[in-house]
Amino acid sequence: MNVPILQMRGITKTFPGVKALQDVTLDVNRGEVHAICGENGAGKSTLMKVLSGVYAHNTFDGDILFENEPCEFSSISDSEKRGIVIIHQELALSPYLSIAENIYLGNELASNGWVDWRKTNLEAAKLLARVGLSENPVTPIQQISVGKQQLVEIAKALSKEVKLLILDEPTAALNDEDSDHLLDLILHLKGQGVTCIIISHKLNEIRKVADAVTIIRDGKSIETLRLDQGQITQERIIRGMVGRDLESLYPERSPVIGEEVLRIEDWTVQHPQDHARMVVNGASLNVRKGEVVGLAGLMGAGRTELAMSVFGRTYGRAVSGKVYKYGKEIDTSTVSGAIGHGIAYATEDRKHYGLNLIEDIKRNISMAALRKLAKGGWVDKNEETTVANRYRKSMNIKAPSVAAITGKLSGGNQQKVVLSKWMFSDPDVLILDEPTRGIDVGAKFEIYTIIGQLAAEGKAVIVISSELPELLGICDRIYTLSAGHITGEVPIAEATQETLMHFMTKEKE
């Protein structure tokens, strides 16, 4: 039975300044479903990119044996030739092309350069039957749901005569019904001899399909649990995922918590395209003066979506629910309205949503509150420079001057510019989405200090983070989100990584 199909040995992958993978070992047997578990950023996706040739063989150390033969892939097409197909979390389908066209995209059934449409559609229909999808192959992709699109991706993989199918968080964007169907299909394919690697942190899914689980933490493979040895239990997986030493330190705080500043009640948000999916579902939470509240959740739990829908409806559709500030209902349906009510939202994606990278520091800092610097529509540039210099000093932004271009700063300094921008808008509530993402350890400490100072000044702070130690280190109270529901509210004294992870992976009743 246990014949190895894939052996990865001593995989080490380094990015500038970061060791993403360190001496990782992975053994997958033929015909099994092998789950890879780990927190966000643990290195799961990097490992799969190493395996599928996204990172060429000379950019990492270690050996890969597939069907007992060494692999040296330079690109995805190399790995696909050997029967290794990866399906990424963001689907790579072209929305206006038909299902059949998408299945054979880049691999067209053609003779002499002319596409054989009859054959394409016929073969596509056969593949669709194999994945249990009863759609006409000529239907444009955008007309079918995300769940069905996921199945089309699998059909596409099957068309390449896949031996090892890698699914990166396949159910992150799916509703429950579609998720179930997909998991059934994985088991079905396993029956047909396809080996599967599934990246997931939904523990109930793993228990349903996995024959083995490899846990990755901080770029290292921790252990491999096997079903036939009775090792796959929720407790064991959670312990493996979070059981690390706290390396980074957090500044001391002595919180003085006052009255409630912001309360969100029964907040519900539909997915902008998939109307059947509730990205946030009946969430209620509050935050008080001087308090740092954490929002924990795994990928796709709806944390950013919750924050952005509150902040000027910048995400989702059919948003319902109420927002109260100091007990009075407020209207946050436009960004300027939300800012006017003293709410600030610092995005998780500062390059695309937070900064104007081609502008200088001072103009970025003044962007959200330019009116404060202006008289009759004209900006006082000297005052602007003075303000920017003040933040450069107090936030310790490392740049030659405030006329430096933000695109040339390091991640930590860019984040400080974003924080300066929102501090200058003088908010009462700050929502910080992944404030330390992509920032080195030293700058993280500075950001934590700033967050502590903001709370000490009487601001109410909500921190969204994928790093549990970070939340435990800086928050006074932590909410957990799972599939759009608030599944727990834990005071810091009772919070441990294990309890949080339990709530974060909890399914709704």
């Binding site: 902040f311 000027g312 910048t314 960004v335 300027s336 939300a338 800012i339 006017g340 939202y345 995005t347 390059k351 695309h352 949503y353 937070g354 900064l355 104007n356 990278l357 081609i358 502008e359 200088d360 103009r363 003044s366 962007m367 959200a368 330019l370 009116r371 202006a374 529509g377 004209w378 900006v379 540039k381 000297n382 420079t385 003075t386 210099n389 030659p400 001057s401 405030v402 006329a403 271009i405 695109g407 040339k408 921008k421 808008s425």
Partner: protein, 427 residues
């Protein structure tokens, strides 16, 4: 030695700004030689200003639209349409010029509001809306004029196109003194502003240009302005349209640099999402930009009609291309967020000198178009080449593209001294 190296380093970091200025001077010198000195004869300099004024007026609005990440293909047709409307109002209905001019500007604003509505609030790309506008307003021009030109216009309106400020010496002096006073006064004001700006930057510990470069640049601008003043003063004085243009350039440069509206425009073009998430009312800003473009197109249409002394069915054809070219040659970025009014003026003058010089040489429009096209391509190509070079090499083409998209180098972002805008208006 280190001062020299510092200056050189500074110049390479601002290759684009310096380059375009040098390019303008080289082109002027080239045609001065090729035309045996006709190019810089007083009368021709005066002509050059008047001939290009309407393109420069359009280029002001165009560079603002481009900075916000849009485009306007309709300005030529709109200018033609307003010329037709002016013809009907003044010649056929007998409206006085002082009522017709504001009325025409208002019609221009309405045209801009119409296009701005579709672009900002309905969300149709500006390229499509203004391409439609190009056809719509050309059609309306033909309908308004019933396919015939309308002429003649009263002298007061014609002065807007070809008139000069009155000669205070009564035409007895060799030099026209009002022009001399304006030119010398303007030059002094520019130098004063530049020095003040430099002091402020020093005070706030912002990087300054190296002293040598500062002195050379401003000395050069001053000499240039004085030469032009001399040339204009020794012909018929200051064209009225030059005064209009100078006021517009000063006003719009200040608007783009110092007003909330201008800063929001740069923010939208630089990163639309970040602007939205900073509470900027992006739709309203876009709408206003197109209303403004409509008004400027109307003004350009009036100047053009006044100069020709007739409203013509084909009036304004091709203006959109010249003004777009001016903005891009002047350093505006196709993806938005970068560009200056002063740059667009220099870009417009390069096109103008090329047109004028080649006409004097007797080259037909065939060669003129060929050469102008190549100049546009070279100017923007130079830009891209510069960006690729300064973005660190290596990586796949995908990462290079990514880099190019997210972190374009900082060419135009240091606030300009007001010297440059006014310096540009001297021509």
């Amino acid at each position: 030695m280190s001062a020299l190296r510092e200056s050189l380093g500074f110049l390479t970091s601002r290759l684009r700004q310096v380059g375009i200025f040098v390019a303008l001077i080289l082109i002027v010198l080239l045609f001065q030689v090729l035309t045996n000195g006709i190019l810089l004869e007083p009368q021709n300099v005066s002509n050059l200003v008047v001939q290009n004024s309407y393109i420069l007026i359009l280029a002001i609005g165009m560079v603002m639209v481009i900075i916000a990440g849009h485009i306007d293909l309709s300005v030529g047709s709109v200018a033609g349409f307003i010329g037709a409307v002016a013809g009907v109002m003044i010649v056929q209905w007998g409206w006085p010029w002082w009522a017709a001019i504001p009325a025409c500007l208002l019609v221009g604003a309405l045209v801009g509001a119409w296009q701005g509505y579709w672009i900002a609030y309905v969300g149709i790309p500006a390229f499509i809306v203004t391409l439609a506008g190009m056809l719509i307003f050309r059609g309306l021009t033909l309908i308004t004029l019933k396919n015939q030109q309308i002429t003649p216009f009263p002298n007061e309106l014609r002065a807007l196109g070809g008139g000069f400020l009155p000669d205070i010496s009564g035409g007895t002096s060799v030099l026209e003194w009002l022009t001399v006073i304006l030119g010398v006064g303007g030059t002094a004001a520019i130098l004063f502003q530049a020095i003040k700006e430099r002091r402020v930057r020093t005070k706030f510990a912002l990087e300054n240009e190296p002293m040598a470069w500062f002195a050379v640049k401003n000395g050069f601008i001053a000499v240039l302005m004085l030469i032009i003043t001399f040339l204009l003063a020794s012909y018929r004085g200051t064209p009225i349209v030059l005064v209009v243009l100078a006021v517009l350039v000063i006003l719009y440069s200040a608007l783009m640099n110092n007003s909330i509206f201008g800063r929001h425009t740069y923010a939208i073009g630089g990163n639309l999402h970040a602007a939205e998430l900073s509470g900027i009312k992006t739709k309203r800003v876009t709408f206003r930009l197109f209303v403004n473009m409509g008004v400027l197109a109307a003004l350009a249409g009036l100047v053009f009609t006044a100069r020709l002394n007739s409203a013509q069915p084909a009036g304004g054809t091709g203006f959109e291309l010249d003004s777009i070219a001016a903005a891009f040659i002047g350093g505006a970025a196709v993806q938005g967020g970068i560009g200056t009014v002063a740059g667009a003026m220099i870009g417009g003058l390069i096109m103008g000198v090329l047109n004028n010089g080649m006409s004097i040489l007797g080259l037909g429009t065939d060669y003129q178009q060929l050469i102008k096209g190549l100049v546009l391509l070279l100017a923007v190509g130079f830009d891209i080449f510069n960006k690729n070079r300064s973005g660190s090499g290596g990586g796949s083409s995908l990462t290079r593209r990514f880099k190019w998209k997210t972190t374009p180098p900082a060419t135009e972002t240091v606030p300009k001294t007001t010297a440059e805008p006014v310096g540009a208006d001297a021509k």
